[in-house]
């Protein structure tokens, strides 16, 4: 019996030690890590794509994909990745959210694709995709999809508005401004108190006017603030951070940005928007309008077929602005810098990255996940001639934005601290404290800059 116990303990020890030392990066394979859940359409589409690669290239290194589901801000997956960096076990290829690329490039964890990848292939990506993957003039990341945000409104609610207000809402191929957007929400609020309209089903059901998804920010989706709202700055001639990715003074607190934040604050100060919205507020008719991501479309079609959702372009702050400004960007594939440029495996790794992001993959991802293709040639797969007019309108708007006005988020080594602090110390404070006065907002921005400057010291060494 004693011997049995000793043997059992010895086996436990050996198994534990073996478990701790397991190597995942065998040289005869190419390992990919992604943030997608294996049973999510995104995870399945990657798995299918890898299977197709392995079948098409039996004589090359086989690709193995491993998924580590991400939580709100990418944690879970990012924690796993950071742990791999400290133990020098970074996989050959892995995914990163577009804005995170700069900090991983700066620290030498990921390698550039310049000099290995075919420039014609690179030129096939949309401008915003190239912009988000480029750090200091070098390309590091290949986005497997783009994204987009527009404004959606509930047609039943808008029908009740006076004609002069309805005219403020543009058609799908017209631009409009945040001021027009605000006037529409103001008019909808009046419908809620007007005796003639307040008891109508679509009005009675309203709990807020516009859904900004600010509830998701405290749950860890800090990127929402930067993703949804920096276009206010851009379309007013401002920026979040200077081109060096670190300078904030006279940039984040520019008069254009303060004006944009005051405009944003007006929605909350007047109770047209709420810091915590009901779940699926727009989908369930509790919000008349929404700053809506592309993923709304398939959800609304599948799960809320009775909602008459209309879509218009993302508004500008300054009507005369002509540059790119609409939200874009998504997760992308990067390669580990572990392999030297002249290592034959490096070329194979980049070939796999191309396979995972080429025109064919882009089109497949759209069909599997409703993801906006990040490649120019594949955007045409978006069908805007279906028998569903709401679908056609929404995709037409997003398609236009991807092709013409999408802009990548700031490239900064200070990510994600930059975006989290922006979300928490400016956007959430404005929303939760219902602030619209310029002085308070200036103070929020000043405090944020001080905090960020302190943190950014380490990058300026």
């Amino acid at each position: 019996m004693k011997k049995l116990v000793i043997m059992f303990l010895a086996v436990v020890m050996v198994v534990s030690i073996a478990g701790c030392t397991k190597k995942t990066n065998a040289d005869d394979k190419i390992i990919i890590w992604t943030q997608a859940s294996p049973d999510h359409p995104e995870g399945r589409m990657f798995a299918d794509r890898v299977d197709a690669y392995n079948a098409a290239h039996p004589d090359k290194r086989q690709v193995e994909i491993q998924n580590f589901t991400r939580a709100g801000a990418g944690s879970g997956y990012i924690d796993k990745l950071n742990a791999a960096i400290t133990s020098n076990e970074v996989p050959d290829i892995f995914t990163l959210d577009g804005p995170d690329v700069a900090s991983y490039a700066d620290s030498g964890v990921i390698g550039t694709l310049d000099g290995i990848i075919d420039s014609n292939f690179v030129n096939g990506f949309t401008d915003a995709m190239i912009e988000q993957g480029t750090v200091d003039g070098k390309l590091y990341a290949l986005g497997y999809q783009d994204s987009g945000v527009a404004i959606m409104y509930n047609e039943d609610v808008i029908q009740e508005l006076p004609q002069e207000v309805k005219l403020l809402i543009p058609s799908m191929d017209e631009d409009w401004t945040w001021e027009d957007f605000y006037k529409v929400t103001e008019a909808i609020q009046q419908l809620r108190t007007n005796p003639e309209t307040k008891d109508k089903a679509s009005i009675k059901n309203l709990e807020l006017i516009v859904d900004f998804l600010t509830s998701d920010i405290p749950k860890g989706a800090y990127e929402i603030a930067m993703y949804y709202l920096t276009p206010l700055f851009w379309s007013n001639g401002g920026q979040v951070v200077a081109d060096d990715g670190l300078t904030l003074d006279e940039v984040l607190n520019s008069p254009q940005n303060i004006e944009a934040l005051v405009q944003f604050g007006k929605f909350f100060a007047n109770d047209y928007a709420q810091a915590i919205e009901p779940e699926k507020a727009f989908h369930t008719g509790k919000a008349a309008m929404a700053v809506a991501g592309f993923w709304y479309i398939s959800d609304l079609e599948k799960n809320y077929p009775s909602l008459k959702f209309r879509t218009v372009r993302y508004p500008k702050m300054d009507a005369s602005y002509t540059g790119n400004f609409t939200p874009s960007g998504s997760w992308a594939f990067v390669r580990s810098n572990r392999l030297a440029m002249d290592n034959p495996k490096t070329k194979e790794v980049v070939d796999v990255m191309e396979w995972m992001t080429n025109d064919e993959a882009s089109a497949e991802y759209y069909h599997a996940n409703g993801a906006i293709p990040g490649r120019k040639q594949s955007i045409s797969v978006i069908d805007t001639n279906t028998d569903n007019d709401y679908h056609n309108e929404a995709w037409s708007v997003l398609k236009y934005q991807v092709e013409n006005t999408n802009k990548a988020r700031p490239v900064s080594v200070g990510y994600p601290y930059l975006s989290e602090t922006f979300a928490r110390d400016i956007i959430l404070k404005i929303a939760q404290n219902k602030v619209e006065d310029e002085e308070t907002i200036k103070q929020y921005v000043k405090d944020t800059i001080d905090k960020l400057n302190l943190e950014f010291k380490k990058y300026k060494k």
């Binding site: 303990l9 990012i78 400290t86 900090s103 405290p218 749950k219 915590i276 959430l428 943190e455």
Partner: protein
């Protein structure tokens, strides 16, 4: 003078005992001792998570930075505020429930299970459920308040209400476990003490004060220490329900350590904080033990 006799063990018996201890010792070494040693080493460096090979010794810089880190100081205050509120509330609730359950009445088992149920639920699940219930516009709690003619409350978005809300939810979710321990303590009190007190004419309050409370002293001290240390380690509820907001009013020290260490990759700095926090918890435990000994 008391004479102690030493039992002699055979060598193979000693070896077997050590082998039984080995797995636990190994785990403690890997997951407790080594991390503390590493935190001590890294605490004196500028370790940035993405550049593990470029860390340099910076002396006491991280410890000096802690003194002027307003957010760190605020998270420490938030944590202490939480502990000061939650320990008496949670233990009070646990004791109250234990006293109810200790009575013999119909459906006693049902209530015992019902009160204990939140203790076995995942804290993430509890936090998500309460987030829905506390939604300012459509949450059930505010619907109830409205139906009673009371104004809706912001709860988790209010700087003054968010932490007390977390305290109550934490107390509710954790008190079931302490209730069981109190219940075990109550069962250990001799019934004849109550009978004697009744014969002497003691009322309910007097019996509680002079028999129940002293009878639960050891159990109470154990629960105070464990609940306090547990409360200092609060992280799930604020992470899931408020993200540390509004205005960092619910961000706890552990959440700060996680965010600055992992998400913002300041490994060196948070190692220093972790070291100080560990020492702080050890001191708290020693103080409690000393008080307990004196009691």
């Amino acid at each position: 003078m008391k004479k102690t006799s030493k039992v002699k063990y055979r060598t193979d018996e000693v070896m077997t005992a050590y082998l039984f201890l080995l797995p636990a010792l190994l785990l403690a070494l890997i997951f407790i001792v080594v991390p503390i040693i590493l935190a001590f080493i890294y605490g004196f460096t500028d370790y940035y998570l993405l550049k593990p090979d470029e860390r340099t010794f910076i002396g006491l810089d991280n410890f000096i930075r802690m003194l002027s880190d307003d957010l760190l100081i605020q998270t420490f205050k938030n944590t202490v505020y939480f502990v000061v509120l939650v320990v008496p509330i949670q233990l009070g609730m646990a004791l109250g429930l234990a006293l109810i359950i200790n009575k013999k009445f119909r459906g006693n088992t049902y209530y015992r299970v019902a009160y204990f149920a939140p203790a076995v639920l995942s804290l993430v699940v509890i936090s998500i459920l309460w987030s829905v219930l506390l939604n300012p516009s459509s949450g059930l709690i505010n619907q109830l308040l409205s139906s009673l003619g009371l104004p809706k409350q912001p709860f988790l978005t209010s700087t003054s209400q968010a932490m007390p809300t977390l305290v109550l939810i934490s107390a509710w979710s954790g008190c079931g476990y302490q209730m069981l321990i109190f219940l075990a303590g109550l069962k250990n009190i001799q019934p004849n003490l109550y009978e004697a007190a009744e014969i002497d004419g003691a009322n309910t309050w007097q019996k509680f004060k002079h028999i129940t409370i002293p009878g639960l002293r050891a159990v109470s001290m154990f629960l105070i220490i464990t609940t306090t240390i547990q409360a200092f380690k609060l992280i799930v509820q604020p992470m899931v329900m408020t993200g540390g907001g509004p205005d960092y009013k619910t961000m706890t020290l552990l959440q700060y350590i996680y965010e600055y260490g992992f998400r913002h990759r300041n490994t060196g700095y948070v190692s220093a904080i972790t070291l100080v926090f560990t020492i702080f918890l050890v001191v708290v435990s020693i103080v409690f033990k000393k008080v307990l000994k004196e009691e």
